[in-house]
Symmetry: D2
Subunit: 337 residues, 4 copies
Amino acid sequence: MRLGMRFFSDNAAPAHPKVLEAIAAANRLDTAYDGDEWSSRLDGSFSELFGTEVRAFWVTTGTAANCLALAALCPPYRAILCHKDAHIEVDEAGAPGFFTGGAKLILLDGEGAKITTAALAEACDAIRPDVHQVQPAAVSITNATEYGLVYRAGEVSEIGKFAKERSLAFHMDGARLANALVSTGESLADMSWRAGVDALSFGFVKNGGLNAEALILFRTDLADEIAVRRKRAGHLLSKGRYLAAQLLAMLDGDLWLENARSANAAAQSLATAAPNRLLYPVEANEVFLKVTPEDAERLRQLGFDFYDWGPGEIRFVTSWDQQGEALDRLASAIAAL
Amino acid sequence: MRLGMRFFSDNAAPAHPKVLEAIAAANRLDTAYDGDEWSSRLDGSFSELFGTEVRAFWVTTGTAANCLALAALCPPYRAILCHKDAHIEVDEAGAPGFFTGGAKLILLDGEGAKITTAALAEACDAIRPDVHQVQPAAVSITNATEYGLVYRAGEVSEIGKFAKERSLAFHMDGARLANALVSTGESLADMSWRAGVDALSFGFVKNGGLNAEALILFRTDLADEIAVRRKRAGHLLSKGRYLAAQLLAMLDGDLWLENARSANAAAQSLATAAPNRLLYPVEANEVFLKVTPEDAERLRQLGFDFYDWGPGEIRFVTSWDQQGEALDRLASAIAAL
Amino acid sequence: MRLGMRFFSDNAAPAHPKVLEAIAAANRLDTAYDGDEWSSRLDGSFSELFGTEVRAFWVTTGTAANCLALAALCPPYRAILCHKDAHIEVDEAGAPGFFTGGAKLILLDGEGAKITTAALAEACDAIRPDVHQVQPAAVSITNATEYGLVYRAGEVSEIGKFAKERSLAFHMDGARLANALVSTGESLADMSWRAGVDALSFGFVKNGGLNAEALILFRTDLADEIAVRRKRAGHLLSKGRYLAAQLLAMLDGDLWLENARSANAAAQSLATAAPNRLLYPVEANEVFLKVTPEDAERLRQLGFDFYDWGPGEIRFVTSWDQQGEALDRLASAIAAL
Amino acid sequence: MRLGMRFFSDNAAPAHPKVLEAIAAANRLDTAYDGDEWSSRLDGSFSELFGTEVRAFWVTTGTAANCLALAALCPPYRAILCHKDAHIEVDEAGAPGFFTGGAKLILLDGEGAKITTAALAEACDAIRPDVHQVQPAAVSITNATEYGLVYRAGEVSEIGKFAKERSLAFHMDGARLANALVSTGESLADMSWRAGVDALSFGFVKNGGLNAEALILFRTDLADEIAVRRKRAGHLLSKGRYLAAQLLAMLDGDLWLENARSANAAAQSLATAAPNRLLYPVEANEVFLKVTPEDAERLRQLGFDFYDWGPGEIRFVTSWDQQGEALDRLASAIAAL
């Protein structure tokens, strides 16, 4: 199989050349940990980007970003409300339990991995407010979702309002937030802090980064705790400048938006090739198709790689670098099924 | 201050150009996590290097390597014997407590951060073998130590023998193992698995790496657990090939030994400049000096950066890239105090 | 309300007079913790009772018994399969997460809080065997269940066989095991170790005890770990003899079976009063009825206390001491609704 | 050996008859957990006793009281300052690590297990205020200490003042607080909340109780968290009234003070028998003697039981019920050595 024909996840894509250049440019002696000049610029750069004061921390994985945030937002003896297909439940090896010291995930249903305030209310109302049942402390949503759907800013804001009413903290797993934003055309501010989000896992690795994600705190009072928790979890790299430099390169000239646009456009190419096969509307850079085993086999024989999602379901994820021939060939092959 | 005049830690040094080249060479689409071709070569390459079958895991920090290993070697309700100045006790924000779920560190004295079997025996014998006192499960040593001293293979082997007799697991924090090895001229095998070490944190970042360390398991039966714990701690990077490629570049042509020789030689230059001021023999790449406050101030005025270790004590750490003018000037300045 | 008219839980009933007598008889100076003569007899007495060698530990709550066992049977990074209405999930404040260090509960459906091997298989088969998803390590069932249903020995044995095939440990929450046993007429051995149970929380407090439960280990190799975990969790009482004496008093002359028979008979009295209102067959000492709000109100006006289980559902739990007038009046009142 | 001749610990003594009577009097149906009439009276009774509003929780062990309090006072990523011989460090199987989720104990020296503000200040000042070193969050002292010494109210107050200045929470392990109080003649208020104590483990089991200790919160804002943590740790007994009744019986007519006076008087009898052999002044109910192996052997041959503390050191602990013949014979035997 040729590598350009891999569509199983955006987390395997190469890093953008500008990211590599930024790493090379940072390759000189500086201060260790996050005292270097690149790391020192993060708070300012992200505050400017969001239009409000934030604290920004580099980490190397979305799991670390998600779970450091959740540990600060939820004590060990309480719970986090999330979708039953949320990445934190399904694909992080129980990391929330580890980082929080045993907090529970309360799992909600919802189409396309989206949760609604109705589902949240139902779950909360079913919990007796006593010491025997675990009380919720936080809500976590993923945008774009694990099925490639997008919460619009208004939807996020409704959840934020609900969270506030119930005294719940609000976390967003934004591993593919860039894809959600370019899809909706809404602003980063409206999608996050103006909608009541307290902490955001802001993904860059799936979007052309090499190994730097950002944990953004709108509740800046949590920064000291997060700084300690990051170190304690082994996530304070000694040469942090190589992470900070990646993030700054991604922000520079809105590379992060440009990359997301490319990935989303690629997904649309695939979606339009087989509109009747779509399991979910394609709103970001993931395409789920209904296929027969023979269909799937045929695409594999043509050299394409993708994920078997469930019986008769396959998933394609497009990346920032997937334009051109391989994409066209895949679209044609899907159309021809 | 000019950056070349920083001597406060080897963990701030730049990455070796070959490491950057390796990262660039890995910058193409491949499988996520550790399924890529570079990661797949690690077990074989390190097994060859050690002359025995090992399992090798990339992680981004020494803290992660140390604490993942300790969590697998020590249950939450037991203890790890280590020096009171060990990095895991002093400089990791309590990470062993986090990763193990609350295991205890039992702290030993010992010259230059080295522990002896006598100290280990004394500590173990003082513990009543009942449920009220925490029973030890593991020993952890650092080589080279936090004071730049070196355990020779024979010393490690004695501790290994003690550990075996007492049914204790044996971990080595080898953040500067390369420096210890080139100092003693002993073999990697003699210094590790032949001496009874079960798990080794094999440091590369302080030795010219960018952000990849290796956790080496001689007890290969622990590999499945470590793999899960690494993911659960947020340390399974999605683009792991950039870490694996760094490690392979360091092993290639024994770059790791060459870099350590450079750093050690630089430390010897400083040591010979002021033999009477040395707090400890200089056996690796750290130099601790007794100075007056005025001495320290004078060195700073000349542009040198270093660590205030304690009253009247300063520390210089040399790196793989520190040869030439800045080093000579520092040696002269020290000699002139 | 007269106290004899409380039917909301067997865990509020008084202790049997023989239990109090045993406590009084143990009220003399002896050795602390579990070195006393009463505690020393537990292993022998319970081994005889079960017809196999067991290790028996007193604890003061079912939560402690359940969670100490689960912590020994499931590492922090794996999961326990149980019913979604299991006490460990619903009524223990997240204690399994605390004791295990963050292990996950995987929740199964099943009529009357019973789980089947089919449900277990479906849940296990849905988990990808990789490091991203939490792998199961144990199964826990409750007998009698939270809805007063009973697993027969053959059903337990099927689950035990499944557990063995999948390398899962097997725990039974037997808070009301006595009620299950007298209901089925089956033997303690068939219901536990012969059916593959590794650890049993053997309830006595709901059955006439004061504050002593027993944790029974059929896997006696876990005893040392459990002993340490019990101490570490603050559950090693210094005057343990008062707990051991209670357990011995309950075993003496099969008081535990006699008490369970009384409670079950009381439940049958209620069940026969309104056979058409039963939500579940009454197999132990719990009676769930469908009622209108007016019905419930009427029973309360008559002085009876019970639990509102859900909309239109109420729960009565009968205790060892509930015979006679209050019971008859409740049965009549139910019949008259 | 006759049981009356056991002097190895006050935690093995019988319960006072009034405690047993109170248990028997509580033996009727009531509400489960802590909703019963006895439990409901605890807050009021202890508030009256302390002369300020407190929240009072029954638990069954000092370990539970200590560690529930510490978990609420110290986050997982910080540390508790205590004496190196403190019970929480030496005799609780690492329970603080378990309850807090991995917080660290920072161990201080000090004569007779007492710590001073000077020692506290030295320990705090040695910690770099960065993310690499674990920052202290709380101080814990034991009164009377593990060596039977007593902090006077003024000393406690000094530590309380230090704690406040450094923003540290302040916990007192009062397993033998009654003995300390009757020794000093000072008031409970002066010894606790007026001296800045935030949470107190108030011991009753060593002082004639059966299995009920009290956790007293002067920071009443922590009560909700403690209530949840107690349940989650398996320490919310379903028939809590038997614990509450014990505590109320101990307070009734100041039985707790009377018992402590008896125990202290017994210790004084022993102390005056061999003033030159005392390792520490006898200020509460513990007597540490310097003896030869032959001395110890001789006392054992006479039928006395005690603890070998260290080489040439033995410990006697006296209890509320030790007056009369056995005590006199022991005093004589000691005098005759």
